[in-house]
């Protein structure tokens, strides 16, 4: 198992390194001048370039940059936030995004599981139909549309929640974005849980468990849910990643200073801020690869068969 984990970890780090290098390369070969040239003489620019090490071979530059990144130093923005260090801007953004995203994932998974289980236990009844309609709706309508509606109804028509995100009242103003972000996760999890559980209920081993006298909660928790959970974990990973993408628009609409809004500001504003694009690109890739890795490992924990086959591969 340890060998398996190490192997996956190594692969993930290598992939991340390759992606980071490509990103670095792409951003560096961009035409354009990092300095406002009309205010500086050619000599000054040359000095400045030498000082910042822009004339070094690209590999040297990359290694230096990576060294800084590992210390949390992403350099400074070229146009955003008046060139404030990216580190400080990014740390607040990450904290905002992660808290809201985390709440959305928790809410979505918990409610989604509950809905799915209820639907599977009441197969063919009203609750099942309700769950189906709900999950179809949640998958077909983007999260920002839910946000717009919640914002319009509960912040504008009935001014209960703040219309824009307010960092001083975090918990209160995080309600609307978290709910709207969670709906996609919720509906997907609900649909998957329901289908998986229905399938497991029809399986031979559940019939065996029933025939030996098991019923009720024991049966559902021990036999059905655990086996149904395995495929659910695999859908959770892309869901978390989708959440990141969805959060982009939600953060923009609700005015949350998160990584999504930073990304939008960096690429969709007047001038593109290359350093932010680079830093956020690395961050997003790291997150994405990290989540995929985590899910792979979690999969192994939940399903012993996969652990075994992974061992077999190594042997």
């Amino acid at each position: 198992m340890t060998k398996y984990i190490l192997k996956r970890l190594g692969m993930a780090l290598l992939t991340l390194l390759i992606i980071t290098f490509l990103l670095f390369l792409l951003v560096r070969i961009m035409p354009g001048n990092p300095f406002p040239s009309e205010r500086m003489s050619d000599e000054q620019i040359a000095n400045k370039r030498a000082e910042m090490g822009l004339d070094d071979p690209i590999l040297t530059q990359f290694i230096r940059y990576m060294g800084n990144v590992l210390h949390g130093d992403f350099g400074k923005g070229t146009s955003l936030y008046n060139g404030a260090p990216i580190k400080t801007v990014l740390s607040t953004a990450i904290s905002n995004s992660f808290r809201i995203g985390g709440m959305a994932i928790l809410l979505g998974t918990a409610v989604g599981l509950l809905l799915g289980i209820t639907a599977a236990l009441n197969r063919g009844k009203f609750l099942d139909g309700f769950c189906t309609v709900f999950s179809i709706l949640g998958v077909c309508v983007p999260s920002y549309v839910f946000l717009i509606f919640l914002q319009y109804t509960f912040s504008f028509k009935i001014p209960f929640f703040p219309y824009f995100f307010d960092n001083t009242r975090f918990a209160f103003s995080a309600v609307i974005p978290s709910i709207s972000l969670s709906l996609f996760t919720m509906s997907t999890i609900a649909r998957f849980t329901r289908n998986e559980m229905v399938e497991v209920f029809d399986s031979d081993y559940v019939r065996l468990a029933e025939s030996k006298g098991m019923y009720g909660r024991d049966l559902v928790m021990k036999h059905v849910l655990r086996n149904a959970l395995i495929p659910i974990v695999t859908v959770l990973a892309p869901l978390v990643v989708d959440l990141l993408t969805g959060a982009l628009v939600v953060e923009k609409i609700y005015g949350i200073n998160g990584i999504g809004k930073l990304m939008v500001d960096a690429i969709a504003g007047e001038g593109i801020d290359y350093n932010y694009v680079l830093a956020l690109g690395i961050l997003y890739s790291a997150l994405y690869i990290g989540i995929m890795l985590l899910v792979d490992l979690l999969y192994g924990v939940l399903d012993p068969r996969i652990r075994v086959s992974a061992k077999g591969e190594e042997a």
Binding site: I19, I148, V264, I272, V277
Partner: protein, 346 residues
Amino acid sequence: MTKKIEQTAAPAAPYIPKKEDFVLLEHRDIHTDANFASQSYWKGVITHFFKNRRAVVGLVIITVILLLAVFGPVLNAYGYRDIVQYRNEKNKRVVAKGIAPQIPVLHRILTGEELEGNFAGYTFLFGTDDLGRDLWTRTWYGARVSLLIAFVTIIIDMIIGMSYGLISGYFGGIVDQLMQRFVEIANSVPRLVIVSVLAIFMPKGMGLVIVALLLTEWIGMSKIARAEMLKIKEQEYVLASRTLGARNGHIIFKEILPNTIGPIITQVMFSIPTAIFTEAFLSFVGVGIVLPQCSVGTLIEDGFNNITTLPYQILPPIFVLALLMLGFNFIGDGLREALAPKLEDM
């Protein structure tokens, strides 16, 4: 022993069948057995597909939206960038800014009164936006743009992904290893990062959306094509073809490709809504379609910007987006079930 048998057999009177014996019993569910074995593969798929209520609903939704996207703007007198206006007696421009949906005839029938306002005689099914453009035209025009982007990119992605997956699966060995490593790395780049890097190199607009989709959507197709290839390539007819001297290209694209097309089409049906979603998202963020062009995404953004003053404006594009997602997902589900029917559905 023989004696005993003779004794029991002899005395019974011969049974004379009555007419009632040949009448069907009532209330018995008798129907013709649909035998799929005698159908060709595609005929069977179609039969299954149309038996699926959801799939048919999806097909109807998509057909209606497609028709409206093609003919909707023509049904109206206004172009997608025309501002509805006229000059009044004092030669002043009167612009139909921010008019809620109105149908004069229906209004008269329902309330018995005439509409009021400068544009009382005009029909605006979806209303007009803050600049005075007709939203019916704009909505369907936007749907047309979104669908066009989705179809074009997904078809190109299908060709790329299919060829990539089939080649990788067919040759196996070191070729497969290298090609799959590449896919793994390409798959670990989040779409957002690809878009942001593209935004550096390309002007914002339709081109950026198309390239972004081209770079990401082929991966799923290639995986499916490869899996199908691995399933099929060991079959006898492939061996037969090779024995007859067929070249690799012929075997891959002429012999095997037609047999993998089902799952790939299903994947296409699921990719189209993803493409529409991505387009809407990019346009909303501001790196997609540029004004005065419009797509579903920009329409939703417009609607959002005016939501406090013109709340109805956001509804049509949202409904179109949701119905497109719904329709394509239903069709995809239906196709998947029709292509690989379970025994109990027979």
